[in-house]
Amino acid sequence: MGIEVMEDIRKDYVYDLIESGKRVDGRGFRDYREISVERDIINKAEGSALVKIGDTVVLVGVKLEPGTPFSDAPNKGILMTNAELRPGASPDFELGPPNENSVELARVVDRGIRGSEAIDLEKLCIEEGEKVWMTFIDIHPLDNDGNLVDAAALGAIASLLNTRIPNDRYELTGEDTLSIRDTPVAATMIKIGESILVDPNLYEANAATSKLTVISNADGTISGIQKSGTDGLKEEEIAEMVEIGIEKAGEIRKKYLGDIEA
């Protein structure tokens, strides 16, 4: 009970502050926390990135292995995106098989990449109908201070951009770099009161009742949207959020993925 009261007080505090035009950490409503992206830090992975957004830390690793293609796409590689909300990353995460939150996180990131067709799956065919590269994107949150999805999505595309194809390990020949054709970037917003805030930290995320993630591409098109939370949003609010999301994704892309040709 004590905990619930504390939570209510904290929510009220966040609300009141926002009503007066401020955020708990002093940011502007349209500002991200500080972002950092470190690449290639796991040498056992074919690609990896450690992304920090404020105190939120997500490690993403990409592994490739030969496997059998699906019968309805014999000439295409396979993409599998997985997220585990490891209990070390938050007192709110529990041991056990993936729950709806980890499944949603993985699937939203997955759809962004798939929708943008960032990976040319046909180039991951080794032998039609027999053998293709299976690409596993594993999302491993280390510290959750809110907005895992933006960090995970950024980590995923940053990892992919540096992924090597492990031909040698499997005694295969072929191109050694993964061909990436677009750079989907997620931007997440919440609505608190009448205000739209980007990149919610944990306090804000807990205080908000609806959240929208927009994944957009280098050309400004959208390749993924996910609303979550228990309150509705108006059409105009969503339109505004989509606009902001595309803009923010553009800024992030330029700053953190800009050195890479996509």
């Binding site: 709806e100 499944v103 993985a106 591409n217 098109t221 993924g224 228990t230 949003l233 108006k234 059409e235």
Partner: protein, 244 residues
């Protein structure tokens, strides 16, 4: 998306003869189950969805109760024979996510605070599927909740829009979904135009997205009327027949 390119629009018509802004045929039956507190059978083209609602009832185990409100669960399940390749029984990642967003699509309208410590359980079975299953399920569930007498602010209506052969169209069927360029399921409280579910995959320009959303909104209004009519008919029939 896009296994092989097939032409989805011919002479301005879709393969099943619909115009861009046409819904598939809808059929709604209310109160089709005896055991459930509320139920609804909802057909959308070749989709056959059945929703059963139980509650408010005691939530157990107790440590999952919420002292302030009812706890809503929503389970979306595809029958093994509802698709071309038999689906293995049991929840998979897709159904876990669909269940989550569907529950959240209904959450805003359910007056959960009226029934603290209870459970309101929504079970949606897809008996046959042809794309758009989650929207059919939400439409069924919304009516079943009302039929169960759960106090609600309003009904929720749901439909998908998508993009095929470069055109923004309403309510994709499976062929269109498999070969199309984008899909965006939407749920809303039609009367207040409040969007309670929004997902999208594939690729949309911002303009296409906005047009899609408007199209969905219009269709949700149509669906809302059908849901309302079905409930009223059921209710008047009950009264007429002296049923309760």
């Amino acid at each position: 998306m896009k296994e092989e390119k097939i032409e989805l629009i011919k002479d301005g018509k879709r393969l099943d003869g619909r115009d861009f802004e046409d819904l598939r045929p809808i059929k709604i039956e209310v109160g089709v189950l005896k055991r459930a507190d509320g139920s609804c059978y909802f057909e959308l083209g070749n989709n056959k969805a059945l929703a059963a609602v139980y509650g408010p009832r005691e939530k157990h185990p107790r440590h999952l109760q919420d002292a302030k409100t009812a706890v809503v669960t929503y389970r979306y399940n595809m029958a093994p024979f509802s698709v071309d390749d038999r689906k293995r029984p049991g929840p998979d990642r897709r159904s876990v996510e669909v269940s989550k967003v569907s529950r959240e699509s209904l959450d805003p309208v359910i007056l959960k605070e009226y029934y603290p410590k209870t459970a309101i359980d929504v079970y949606v079975e897809l008996l046959q599927s042809d794309a758009g299953t989650r929207t059919a399920g939400i439409n069924a569930a919304s009516v079943a909740l009302a039929a169960a007498g759960i106090p609600m602010r309003d009904l929720v209506s749901s439909v998908a829009v998508g993009k095929i052969d470069g055109e923004v169209v309403l309510d994709l069927n499976a062929v269109e979904d498999n070969h199309g360029e984008a899909d965006m399921p939407v749920a809303m409280v039609a009367r207040t135009d409040t969007i309670t579910m929004l997902q999208m995959d594939g690729r949309f320009t911002k303009d296409e997205f906005e047009r899609g959303l408007k199209l969905a909104k219009k269709a949700c209004h149509e669906i809302y009327e059908l849901q309302r009519t079905a409930l009223i008919e059921k209710y008047s029939k009950s009264v007429g027949e002296g049923e309760e």
